[in-house]
């Protein structure tokens, strides 16, 4: 489940293709052997043509070369001061358009580099970036969004192309995370009394406790002070395994109580010990739920003094291994 998003048309997206992302970025210093050495040592790259003149010449080169993978490094802004982004560039307009439509998160997905000529010490590199394409809307494991690809072209001081880089970001709608319990109104609290307090003591200890009659051994739920089978008032609270199968379930749509997320699945479960129990299935997609499916209990705190059970679909396993 993701946040609500607004579909964007090609007419809205296509005009961004080819637009510049802002002023070109020039390397602050010419390429130097000491920078190359720091980089290859940090990465553990032992190729001698990056650091040893004789080895480089032995390969037919005129000098050592900069590792091609450093292509992007030279024109980076550095740690102390970042160049201010232009406030009203095409990149900012695209980001704003996507954010307005609900695609507010970003992740870098991949980078392709193409090397045209080898950079050498003394080169001054200039990076020039344009928006290459904005994809149609895609549904991914991260969520729904658009891939934005930019093309950075790196040139030397003569304007000759050293290489270029395709840089792809995925701008997406973040998963609709359930707000923390404190963020929404509290759910209705159970009325507790001397007949059912044992149950809620159990949930605080992560146990689903059900009454078992000391007289005849019958399990009973909901709780009662006496056994309807043998009339004994003596009983013991016994922890259930928490495993069961769905006997029935509802998917609530309306009315919506602010304490819950909708659509809300609530299941009536046949516990394997032989009693039924109702609890929410907050993480289940309604389409994944059906009568007969195995479930397992979990617990979660509702404030400091209350824990409530809920069910999750059990991982499917062959019968007999449970």
């Amino acid at each position: 489940m993701t946040t609500e998003t607004t579909p964007l048309t090609r007419e809205q997206l296509d005009p961004f293709a080819g637009k510049s992302c802002g002023p070109d970025r020039q390397s602050r210093d010419p390429i130097a052997q000491s920078d190359i050495r720091s980089w290859v040592e940090a990465l553990g790259d032992t190729n001698p043509i990056y650091v040893d003149e004789a080895s480089a010449k032995a390969t037919g080169r005129s000098s050592i070369i900069a590792p091609p993978a450093m292509l992007q490094v030279w024109s980076m802004a550095g740690l102390l001061k970042k160049p201010a982004s232009p406030p009203h560039g095409a990149r900012q307009e695209l980001i704003a358009l996507l954010a307005e439509a609900g695609f507010t998160s970003v992740v870098a997905t991949n980078c392709e580099q193409e090397y045209i000529r080898e950079a050498v010490p003394g080169d001054i590199i200039t990076a020039s970036e344009v928006i290459e394409s904005v994809s149609d809307q895609k549904d991914t494991a991260l969520g729904r969004g658009h891939f934005v690809t930019t093309l950075i072209t790196f040139t030397d001081s003569d304007g000759a192309i050293i290489g270029n880089q395709r840089w792809r970001l995925f701008r997406f709608a973040p998963p609709n995370r359930k707000p923390a319990a404190e963020a929404r109104p509290p759910r209705p609290r159970p009325a507790m009394n001397r007949d059912n307090a044992f149950f809620f003591e159990g949930t605080l200890a992560q146990e689903l406790r059900i009454q078992r009659c000391d007289g005849c051994g019958t399990l009973r739920h909901p709780p009662s002070p006496a056994c309807g089978t043998c009339q004994s008032f003596d009983w013991t609270a016994e922890a259930m395994s928490g495993r069961g199968t769905i006997h029935s379930f509802v998917v609530n749509h309306h009315p919506q109580v602010p304490a819950f997320n909708y659509p809300l699945v609530v299941a009536l479960v046949d516990l394997e010990e032989g009693v039924r129990f109702v609890a929410e299935m907050p993480d289940a997609e309604p389409d994944d739920v059906s009568i007969g499916l195995p479930v397992e209990v979990r617990f979660r705190q509702q404030g400091d003094d209350l824990a409530l059970p809920y069910f999750v679909l059990a991982p499917s396993q062959p019968a007999g291994e449970r």
Partner: protein, 391 residues
Amino acid sequence: MSNLSGKTAIAGIGATEFSKDSGRSELQLAAESILAALTDAGLTPADVDGLVTYTMEKNPEVEVARALGMGDIKYFGRVNFGGGAPGAVVLQAAMAVATGVADVVVCYRAFNERSGRRFGAGVQDRGTEPSAENAGYAWYTPHGLVTPAQWAAMAGRRYMHDSGATTEALGAVAVAARRHAATNPKAWFYERPITLEDHAESRWIAEPLRLLDCCQESDGAQALVIVSAERARDLPQKPAIIKAAAQGISGSTAMMTAYYGDDIGHLTEMTLVADQLWADAQLTPADIPTAIIYDHFTPYVLMQLESFGFCGRGEAKDFVRDGNVELGGRLPINTHGGQLGEAYIHGMNGVAEGVRQIRGTAVNQVADVQNTVVTGGAGVPTSGLILGADR
């Protein structure tokens, strides 16, 4: 078997209009409906000496008596469990009359259930005072199961699973109700019939229940006047003889959450009511040409048809097909439009329709109705009636 059969009758019925916003107090609605019922019966408030209503009723007997200038009230009683009570209030009144405790007993139910407190909103504000009644909700409301539709959907889903009933079977019940309401000027949905497609396309409320599987929320009031059969014969209206009245709690009956029995699609308490009614009235389903089946939620109508033996277990889905529960079918049900189509007055308007069918004055009259069944709410501790023509 009780010895109540035939001793008492419903001699008067009276109601307000049914609306979504009555524009007046619940007490006024109660008083208006009672006065109308007494007038219908040819009686006056001074004749009343008994009052019976629901525990959920918010108009106290003392206020009702004062508003209408009633005299000495010698019997008053209330019945619990909401919509399960319509047959039960009549049973209490009949017992009071048959035993000589009272002579003229009025049953009433009045509320602004749409413009005031809506039952459909559920019990999300249920208190945590440690009563057994409140503790009973501890297993549902903290998990988001807070409304009657949601409670009903749980049983409905399992019933559909076990019986093979589909949304079409639920739709047949809704279509019948709305067809009947469409020709009843008192019905909220007067002149507004629906099709099976309308039903299937209506929005989800609590799956498997859609909007058109759920009864209305209504403002209104309905009152009934119960006297001895002997006295009824001297009053203006043709008596609707109370041939049987019964209540039922059985096995794992609960207030809308009877989830723990062997078969939650089988209404043990309604079967208990039905068995008593058939035995006391000395009748069988074949004697019933039309019935009022409490229709808060459509799956429960199917279950009740089975409880009463109008069809076999699991067969209601076929029984309701092809207009069989509409006018002209084998068993037209809820000829006033039911609570889906006329109004939700906690089943009391259904009792009034049963009386009209016996009198022969219903807008959707079924021919030659000698006996009719009226049921109380299903899925709760409940009740029912068999009303019949005199002699």
